[in-house]
Amino acid sequence: MISLKINGASHDLDLDGDMPLLWAVRDILNMTGTKYGCGIGQCGACTVHLDGQPVRSCQTPVSAATGHDITTIEGIHGKVAEAVQAAWRDLDVVQCGYCQSGQIMSAVGLLTQTPKPTDDDINGAMDGNVCRCATYGRIRAAIHQASTKLV
């Protein structure tokens, strides 16, 4: 039995411990805000937080996620998350939107650690999140805009 604490709720699941957290969240718990994009940790669409730190859920076996606080896009809240989502909406960042859960999870992680990031900080934190619609310019602008609400 695998015990996962996701967005504050505990789930006891009969799973193969090697199953990536991504599939437990999406297929077993039907929380589909977290996306599958590549399955090899190259695109960031599956980003969730483990104890507040962004991780790629496709590379995180459920056995490694037990005992940690897991947060998905459905569960983010607080000052940083609200600032990020507000900026994303104000600047109409999204196009197809498929990668944006992961982008937002990475951006919240960045701004939690570094409330006033430089462009280089943004490159460092966000280069692992692919957007095939290339909304990168707006993501950068939204992170800077959210930052003004935090410092």
């Binding site: 929380m31 996306k35 994009g37 190259q42 109409d92 196009q95 197809c96 095939r132 310019g137």
Partner: protein, 744 residues
């Protein structure tokens, strides 16, 4: 044998639908029958936030009710106005733009607007540029413009008539604004108040449309309709569909195009916990399991022996074949004067070649499709459906039923760039084939892994261009001979009668055969390069390679003539004011001609695609073999700008999509097998690669044209020309060969 192509299943378009080409209809009048009415239907299972399903299970009954007569607009007593969107929104924003057109003519308040994706119904929801229901060719806004303006205006007229009947006042004394009807007597009613009465009014035959100068929504900043649901995880994409008791299917397909299965041993696969079934279908072998993880494990355990049929060449072999083909003249796509005579008599001929690789679309959401059998034997499909009419026909063939028994629920699509629309409905066919091999009791969700998507074909075809040109001593270009070699993806499809004329596939040569420059002697010809490798339109189609060839060559000739690249072009664009307009605008905004520091370069390109003209000026910094694209200034003429911010977003995205491919993307083959499989080998553009993009929209009162694709073609040549300006080196072929800059 299980071939990668399914030619016997290629659909034939219904005879009664017009097979208009994308191009002719864009230019012609797209008259479509207006079917409109107002009914009291509310809440057909789609959420009020515009998101299909809205985070809840989609109610199957929702799309089974015949949509007639409320084909495009529905006004409910709760004062919401729901616009039915017949196109797929894969990010380009038509679920915002199309409702804006209705809301404008209706004089609705934007806050009351909702949308639904239309069901599959070619009679009501055909793309007027295609004759079938589908999305592509940057046509969504253009083909819907007249249709939706009339729909909105008719609904408005019916509301006014309902007020006339109730208030006993003349129609011309009623004012409609922001969803409210008022009369100077003090009478007032919302759309919701009048919805029921208006629904009983006859649909007017003829309606008066607004003068564009009176538009209040069109041309203004309106937030995308999906700007909330796509930032909180609630937007439902096809991959998020969860039907009760659903199985996930993952397929093994032949590693070689045209190849197939020799033998299958599925014993180990069936033993994997969670695996429920293994079925063999014409396209390959599918593992059905309780979840994605189990299906993947099951596929890994399949033991398949593939035959060695199909494409066996490597990329270098193919290029050698293309070069050989280019030694003789192909099918003539354009001819003016005599290019050969002019080149022969010219003192100096510039001769160059360009090569372009196969490209994968790589949308973020891999292909997937859910199929569920209903109690009456009909079927529900859930997908980011881009070619509904074709998909209905293909699915029906595999399932042994008729297209009307195939309902399609169009979901949000996580990108497409052309990939979700195929002339043979490929992945719908796979899902249907798998379903046909089961007892039909459990819904089946066919999913592609990223590797499946990237190795699964439907690539932008590889192309080879050879150009010979000569300057006119009196100015301009005297002659241009342009030969292309590359695979037609239209031949053999239902679209061939329209798209392949006189032996020329127009999608292979578009952008060259119709180039805007006044050149007295022009010859464009093309050789098909048949291969079992499946190819397809890729965001901007032929323009994805032709713009690079034409705009780099023009730049070379400007340089050879010792002329400014902008002035050189303008002198040949006297009959093309839209080209000249955006070219001047981009050049002015980018301060083209300004002296730059060493290592920096500025390049320009202008290109028309899908009746939209885009000019770009790129700034680069070159350090050794490293190139950083710093800024791209874009000027676009797309007619009346409906949502300027969405247009800007599409130009930004077009720059990024085209640039990513130009910098480093290629699908290559070794002995017939694809060498790239995921984002570790097909390297996508990332945050740190993205230049600053500035977009300027040309004011216009002309009918709007598309913006989804036209932002792609000019970026590669603008960057290429900027690299030349910085280094004196021409990078013609794509992706750019940066190593050739070493020692420059």
């Amino acid at each position: 044998m299980y071939a990668k192509t399914t030619e016997s299943l290629l659909p034939t378009l219904p005879a009664e639908t017009p097979q208009a080409s994308r191009r002719t209809v864009l230019r012609g009048s797209a008259a479509g029958g207006l079917v409109l009415g107002l009914t009291l239907v509310s809440g057909r299972g789609f959420a009020a936030d515009g998101s299909p399903g809205g985070g809840k299970a989609v109610t199957l009954a929702s799309n089974t009710a015949p949509p007639e007569p409320n084909a495009f607009v529905r006004i409910a007593p709760d004062n919401t106005v729901t616009v039915i969107v017949k196109h797929l929104d894969m990010g380009q924003g038509n679920t915002t733009g199309l409702p804006t057109i209705v809301a404008e003519e209706l004089d609705a308040d934007w806050s009351q607007i909702r949308f639904e994706f239309a069901p599959a119904d070619v009679k009501l929801y055909a793309n007027l540029a295609f004759g079938v229901q589908g999305t592509g060719g940057s046509t969504a806004i253009n083909n819907s413009w007249d249709q939706l303006r009339k729909a909105g205006a008719a609904a408005r007229a019916m509301l006014v008539q309902a007020a006339v009947d109730a208030w006993k006042v003349p129609a011309d004394e009623i004012v409609v604004s922001k969803g409210v009807l008022t009369h100077k007597s003090g009478k007032r009613a919302t759309f919701g108040d009048l919805a029921e009465a208006a629904g009983k009014e006859p649909v007017p035959d003829d309606v008066k449309l607004k003068n564009p100068k009176d538009f209040t929504l069109i041309g203004t900043k309106i937030h995308r309709i999906d700007y909330v649901v796509k930032t909180d995880g609630s937007a439902k994409y096809a991959l998020d569909v969860r039907r009760p008791n659903m199985l996930t299917a993952i397929m093994s397909r032949p590693p070689r195009f045209g190849g197939g299965v020799k033998s299958v041993d599925d014993k180990d696969a069936r033993a994997v916990p969670g695996v429920v079934n293994v079925v063999v279908v014409p396209q390959g072998v599918a593992v059905l399991a309780e979840n994605t993880y189990a299906a993947r494990k099951g596929r890994e355990a399949l033991k398949i022996v593939w035959n060695d049929a199909g494409e066996a060449r490597s990329s270098a072999d193919m290029l050698a074949d293309y070069r050989k083909a280019a030694q003789t003249q192909g099918a003539v796509a354009a001819k003016k004067g005599s290019a050969e005579d002019a080149l022969t008599s010219s003192g100096k001929v510039v001769e160059v070649e360009f090569t372009f690789p196969f490209l994968a679309h790589a949308p973020m959401e891999p292909l997937n499709c859910t199929v569920e059998k209903a109690a009456d034997g009909s079927y529900d499909f859930f997908a980011g459906s881009q070619f509904q009419t074709i998909e209905q026909m293909v699915a029906a063939k595999y399932l042994g039923t008729t297209p009307d028994k195939v309902r399609i629920h169009t979901m949000w699509a996580g990108g497409s760039f052309g990939r979700r629309a195929t002339p043979d409905g490929d992945y719908f066919g796979e899902a249907a084939a798998i379903m046909s091999k089961t007892d039909g009791k459990r819904p089946v969700h066919l999913v592609y892994t990223r590797e499946d998507e990237m190795t699964g074909g439907r690539y932008r075809p590889m192309f080879y261009h050879k150009i010979r040109a000569a300057l006119d001593p009196k100015g301009g270009i005297a002659a241009w001979q342009h030969r292309l070699v590359g695979t037609s993806f239209m031949k053999g499809t239902a679209f061939a009668p329209v798209m392949v004329k006189n032996g020329v596939d127009s999608t292979a040569v578009e952008g060259v055969s119709d180039m805007p420059y006044a050149i007295p002697n022009l010859l464009v010809d093309w050789h098909d390069a048949p291969t079992p490798i499946t190819t397809l339109w890729w965001r901007s189609v032929g323009h994805s390679h032709t713009a690079q060839a034409v705009e780099v060559m023009v730049d070379e000739l400007a340089h050879a003539a010792g002329q400014d690249p902008v002035a050189f072009r303008l002198a040949m664009l006297k009959d093309h004011p839209r080209h000249a307009g955006v070219l001047k605008l981009a050049a002015e905004k980018a301060n083209f001609g300004q002296k730059l520091a060493a290592g920096k370069g500025r390049g320009v390109a202008v290109h028309e695609s899908f009746n939209t003209v885009v000019a770009m000026v790129a700034d680069v910094t070159v350090t050794g073999a490293e190139v950083k694209v710093d800024r791209v200034v874009v000027a676009v003429d797309c007619g009346i700008p409906i949502n300027p911010d969405v247009i800007k977003a599409q130009m930004e995205g077009g720059v990024g999509y085209g640039l990513g491919a130009a910098l480093r993307n290629q699908i290559t083959f070794k002995n017939g097998e694809v060498e790239q499989s995921n984002f570790d080998t097909y390297l996508p553009l990332r945050m740190s690669d993205m230049p600053v993009v500035e977009v300027y929209i040309m004011p216009s009162m002309e009918k709007p044209t598309g913006v989804g694709e036209p932002g792609v073609p000019p970026v590669a040549p603008a960057v290429s020309n900027a690299i030349f300006a910085a280094t004196g080196k021409r990078l013609r072929s794509l992706p750019f060969d940066f190593d050739s800059l070493k020692g420059a």
